[in-house]
Assembly symmetry: C2
């Protein structure tokens, strides 16, 4: 398998994450993760293992993310070994609700994940997601 | 080198990150990162490469983080290959300022990073940092 094929395989994980999100199929989303994978979400909450990732995502896709649409803006991939890669997906989210169940403003962020191939399949072993917010909201502009 | 030694080496990166932060030595902090490392900070801003990581951190350590103290609560390490590991460090930050340069409330979060050994040294190739905030602020409680 060529390096270029592998890059495409890792990018396909990002695309599959987005597809699963947008049809709100949290089984399909969880199946992208290794059994002992970690997921740190935008709230800085660490989910441990595929089952917890599935359960937490099912919960939020019944409520605030029920009709949300995730858009993949771009994904870059960097290989650390032929079978281990780090990917960064820049995303935009629309159609979600606030905690008060009102329509929320567009959100932007970065999902990074570490993927590993077992020779046949690439899976996510760790992921972290962070909303992109303006610099001035936490740190003063120079 | 034993696996146990390697785990200690990866944990030492987290400890060194904290030490560098607390003496506000951003050269020492940047030196923990590979030349082409990525760092997604709590604002969802992606820094590309050691130099950008150094410059951005120098900037904020001249202002809001000038007298801040980072505390490492715990760090876990998971190996993907003998020379590649993912670490999660739970942290607490005190002594920092708000964008209005007023004392800020204690912050908690998770820094995850992917480290790789070249046989001699472990370096961070990708890191992402997220503040831990209460679930109810974004997602309704069940």
């Amino acid at each position: 398998m060529t390096h270029s094929n592998n890059e495409q395989n890792v990018k396909e994980i990002a695309a599959a994450f987005v597809r699963a999100w947008n049809v709100h199929d949290m089984d399909a989303l969880a199946d992208l993760f290794a059994k002992d994978a970690d997921f740190v979400n935008v709230l800085g909450m660490r989910m441990r293992g595929r089952e917890e990732i599935r359960q937490i995502h099912m919960r939020v896709h019944r409520t605030v993310f029920k009709d949300s649409t995730l858009n993949e803006n771009s994904t870059s991939v960097k290989f650390l070994n032929p079978d281990v890669a780090v990917a960064h997906m820049s995303w935009t989210l629309t159609g979600h609700l606030t905690p008060e169940m009102k329509p929320g403003p567009q959100r932007d962020g970065i999902l990074s994940f570490v993927a590993k191939s077992d020779g046949n399949n690439w899976m996510i072993h760790a992921a972290q997601n962070t909303d992109t917010i303006p610099m001035g909201t936490i740190i003063p502009q120079d």
